[in-house]
């Protein structure tokens, strides 16, 4: 089997047995990026020299065995809205084309600490605002299974890099589905962890009360390993949760008696028939393993989208305020005074970002605040209660990740509602702060379909357990996609 198709555990074995060195492995992936990425533009920056230095340090670590862990020597890609000391972090914006952070995000520091190899920075919609990378100043990253389709967004660079085997693991960020939607569209695994589980320090903010960094990989175990590495209390992030004991591995064992809830609202008419069938196939497999399926209702879900838009855009308008050309953001030379300079600078932002700033600014205006922002917060509170109630009836929720497989590049722009439909499955986990995991559950035509599991806050283990059961039971794995072949599972 090609190295690109190996999971982290297999790469670990090769590294530990000295069948390959970290430098050789890094070179392999760098070559693959050089070969494939011109077609995908998954990477905004490939940090070749730093990567080789890190790989060589990892080889040292492996030689002495000191401080070596599951990820030592394993290449990882990082979404380009996560700060990397000395490596430019553009957020796919012209405004930050020259922004080189002077500090590492906590997640990056943690990866460096265990000796993972940072390959580069991946493409996204500008400031993570979008669902297709159409909003990237660095071009669109097409779907690896069919380049006429989008790869989702905003973490599509990370999802595509993983799906094509340009890197075994990648970090994304998820504000309303930005890890899960592209992971589902690309046929890979992605986790939006519990809010506060992973430090946000160094994540360039879009909507801070919703943003969360998480892993994307080619198996449940792979994302488990990356999640375990980046999770944990961080004194630099005031919204960070207290330290939890790190799990040694994914809990295995019987799923008998586990109650799996199917929210009626997420299996409605807007769902593509084929998607529903494939997600139901997962449900049947879980039932066969002894899970108890429960159909339930989460009435608050019908307000999830407007609530998300109100809160995310309001926060976004504030998050974006600092790019005024004074310290951050490429300063526009035009403008006769400070205000003129700031105004000219902000013209550099893309349409979607500007749209969200305008709407968010409007929502927060003193005449609108009570009607929009305050109400949205009330719905958010209700939604948390609604989900808490649901989790008294079941242990986790199963749903599709998106309503349809990846849409074509042209069609997406046409119908904003279609776009909204894909988001309505994912935003609830951000609004309620709970963890959500997406895994591929089949193909519709030749495009992947994702299933989503949600669990109460802090219950990531339950998600890993169920997802890895399904993976083992079906013994199926996706091939590395290269943009042209027909997608299909193959038997492990």
């Amino acid at each position: 089997m090609e190295i690109a198709e190996l999971n982290v555990a297999a790469l670990r074995k090769m590294l530990d047995r000295r069948e390959i060195s970290a430098v050789e492995l890094t070179n392999y992936y760098l070559d693959r990026i050089a070969q494939l990425d011109p077609d995908f533009r998954a990477f905004i920056t490939v940090s070749r020299e730093q990567a080789l230095r890190m790989a060589s340090a990892a080889d040292q670590k492996l030689a002495t065995g000191e401080g070596a862990t599951a990820l030592t020597g394993i290449p990882v890609a990082v979404k380009d809205n996560i700060c990397t000391n000395g490596i430019r972090t553009t957020c796919a914006s012209r405004l930050l084309a020259d922004f080189t952070p002077i500090f590492d995000a906590t997640v990056v520091a943690k990866l460096k600490q265990v000796g993972a190899v940072l390959l580069g920075k991946t493409n996204l919609d500008e400031f993570a605002m979008g669902s297709s990378t159409k909003e990237s100043a660095y071009g669109l990253t097409p779907n690896p299974w069919d380049r006429r389709h989008v790869s989702g967004g905003s973490s599509s660079g990370s999802a595509v890099a993983v799906a094509t085997g340009m890197v075994p693991l990648a970090l994304g960020s998820d504000t309303g589905g930005s890890i899960r939607q592209p992971a589902a569209f690309c046929g890979v695994w992605g986790l939006k962890p519990t809010y506060g589980r992973v430090s946000r320090y160094g994540l360039v903010p879009y909507a801070p009360s919703l943003d969360q960094i998480g892993p994307i990989g080619r198996s449940t175990e792979d994302i488990f390993l990356l999640d375990r590495c980046i999770a944990g209390y961080d004194p630099l992030d005031p919204t960070s949760l207290p330290e939890q004991a790190a799990a040694a591995g994914i809990v295995t064992g019987s799923l008998r008696g586990l109650k799996v809830g199917l929210p009626r609202e997420l299996f409605g008419d807007s769902l593509a028939m084929g998607v529903k069938e494939r997600v139901m196939a997962v449900a049947r497999e879980l039932a066969a393993a002894g899970c108890i399926l429960t159909e339930l209702s989460l009435p608050s879900l019908q307000y999830a989208l407007p609530t998300y838009y109100l809160l995310a855009y309001a926060e976004a308008s504030s998050s974006m305020a600092r790019y005024d050309g004074v310290r951050h953001g490429k300063r526009a030379c035009s403008g006769s005074d400070v205000t003129g300079m700031m105004t000219a600078t902000r013209q550099e932002l893309g349409t979607e970002v500007k749209r969200r700033i305008l709407l968010g600014t409007y929502f927060l205006g003193k005449d609108c605040y009570d009607d929009y922002y305050v109400r949205a917060q009330q719905v958010r509170t209700w939604m948390k209660a609604d989900f808490a109630a649901a989790f008294t009836e079941c242990d986790l929720l199963l749903s599709p990740t998106t309503a349809t497989p990846a849409f074509t590049i042209d069609e997406e722009a046409l119908d904003e509602r279609a776009l909204a439909l894909t988001e309505c499955y994912t935003v609830a986990a951000n609004l309620t702060g709970i963890p959500a995991l997406t895994f591929p559950c089949g193909f519709l035509n030749h495009l992947p379909v994702g299933a989503q599991l949600m669990a109460p806050a802090g219950a990531e283990q339950r998600l890993f357990q169920v997802a890895s059961h399904w993976e083992a039971a079906t013994k199926r794995q996706t091939r590395c996609a290269q943009g042209d072949q027909k997608g299909a599972f193959y038997e492990l």
Binding site: F103, P208, S318, R327, H328, V338
Partner: protein, 490 residues
């Protein structure tokens, strides 16, 4: 026509913490520009604020001292506006749920003591400092920003609009400054900006509703504040008298050079700050037991101290006020009492009289004294035991003040002990009477004033050491005896 003036203050207090409100950067005043900065206080993308617990503690202490209700849970909000020295494009402050509300402070106004309400206190971050350099021949002008100040912890104290004159506003601010220094929550240096004040002022005709308020900025000293408020009250009064409508709220700034307030903007033009809860900072729960412990640990504040001085030491009202509002004086006063068995009033007389005069001459305070409270106590004890006279005591005090030498050493070295021995005094008196026949005759012919000359002569000879009371008695006795001799009854 008479107008009533209504004033409320917004006082910004820089809290005395070692590090800034959200990061570990130092708070030292006067450091080289941009030498005390980090990703957090520069607002670099991806940085996050972490609340400085000490700032909350100082805020709660202040709130307690101002009799505020401390919030069980407070939170931070973003106040959004664009300015080059505001690195995040918003200021983190408290708008919806401040740290404390509904307090009051007793203020000793000239017209009598009165309670002034405290509407709220809240924590917020300081912005950077912008310096503008106007165009010159060889450059088109530029601005520089120093972010050392960015993220310093501020406590804003908002008073109720209950002050009725510029003088009252000044007394209020002075009272607050003393209180804050007493609490040791701030340096309170207006010249370094660690204490700043904005004021809202309106005037109205008696019996009519309140006028539209004008916000006054840039009141950087007590004098500037009082002058600006006086100017503004006068300006609005003239406008009202002339029938001009005062129907728009506006902001004005004090121009020190022109000695007048200058229009800045109408309030309706003011930015909509679009406040919303700061998502990066979770709500802050304030533990009631912690607050109780802080309350128990509060120092005695001037107002309580003043009451105690009246009760315990029976000081006159003025003495009690003057001593209690100056912490250094109060500490010194009570320390003297620890060494001294006499009347508290004696100590207060000397401290507020001769000692204060000497301090004022040198422009220093009680903490700068070269002698200690035990020395003043010793001096007053010498006086009480009649070992020195009041005049001598003043001479000794002056030397103590200059050199810090203990009074006993000065008195011994200079032989200043009072002469209390009647025989010794009699000898001096007889000597004087013998040498000043003219004065004696004058006295006998009814010129009472001649006694003063004779007393002065004895004092000169004894270098002021003779016990004045004994001298008076012995002198008059000897004069009388002399007279009896004269009429030959002996």
């Amino acid at each position: 026509m008479n107008y009533e003036t209504v004033i409320g203050l917004e006082v910004h207090v820089q809290l005395k913490t070692k590090s800034k409100l959200w990061c570990g950067c130092a708070t030292t005043f006067g450091a080289a520009p941009n030498s005390q900065v980090c990703p957090v206080c520069l607002g670099l993308p991806g940085s996050l604020p972490v609340l400085n617990q000490k700032a909350v503690e100082l805020g709660v202490r202040t709130g307690l001292a101002l009799n505020c209700t401390i919030a069980v849970c407070c939170r931070f909000d973003r106040k959004q506006y664009f300015y080059p020295d505001l690195p995040k494009g918003y200021q983190i402050t408290q708008f919806h749920q401040p740290l404390g509300r509904g307090g009051w402070v007793e203020v000793p106004f000239a017209a009598g003591q009165r309670r002034v309400g405290i509407t709220e206190i809240h924590l917020e971050e300081e912005a950077g400092r912008t310096a503008h350099f106007p165009p010159e021949a060889d450059n088109p002008g530029y601005s520089l920003v120093d972010y050392n100040r960015s993220g310093l912890p501020l406590l804003e104290i908002v008073t109720a609009p209950e002050l009725r004159s510029p003088e009252e506003a000044r007394t209020m601010l002075e009272t607050l400054k003393v209180l804050l220094e007493e609490l040791e929550v701030t340096d309170g240096k207006m010249e370094e900006g660690s204490l700043r004040c904005d004021a809202n002022l309106s005037v109205h005709r008696p019996g009519e509703p309140l006028g539209k308020r004008v916000e006054l900025k840039n009141l950087n000293s007590f004098r500037a504040m009082e002058a600006a408020l006086a100017f503004e009250a006068g300006r609005q009064g003239v406008l009202l008298t002339n029938g001009a409508p005062l129907d728009r709220e506006e902001a004005r700034t004090w121009n020190e050079a022109k000695r007048k307030t200058v229009f800045m903007r109408f309030k309706e033009q003011a930015t909509d700050y679009r406040y919303f809860p700061e998502p990066d900072l979770p709500p802050v729960s304030i533990d009631g037991q912690w607050v109780e412990r802080l309350a128990a640990g509060l120092p005695e504040l001037p107002e309580a101290r003043r009451g105690r001085y009246l009760r315990e030491f029976r000081l006159p009202a003025d003495d009690a006020l003057l001593l209690s509002k100056n912490k250094a004086a109060a500490v010194f006063f009570e320390a003297v009492l620890g060494f001294y068995n006499g009347e508290a009033k004696t100590v207060s007389n000397w401290m507020l009289g001769d000692v204060t005069r000497l301090l004022k001459e040198e422009k220093i305070g009680f903490t700068d004294l070269k002698f200690g409270p035990e020395d003043l106590a010793a001096l007053l004890s010498f006086l009480d035991r009649n070992e020195i006279s009041g005049k001598i005591a003043k001479i000794v005090l002056a030397e103590m003040f200059q050199t810090g030498t203990p009074p006993a050493a000065i008195i011994h070295a200079r032989g200043l002990f009072q002469i209390n021995d009647p025989q010794a005094i009699k000898a001096l008196v007889l000597e004087t009477l013998a040498a000043n026949g003219e004065a004696v005759r004058a006295y006998k012919s009814g010129k009472e004033k001649a006694v003063a000359f004779l007393v002065g002569d004895v004092m000169r000879k004894s270098k002021g050491r003779v016990n004045p009371e004994l001298l008076d008695r012995i002198l008059k006795f000897e004069l009388a005896v002399d007279e009896i001799k004269d009429i030959g009854l002996d």
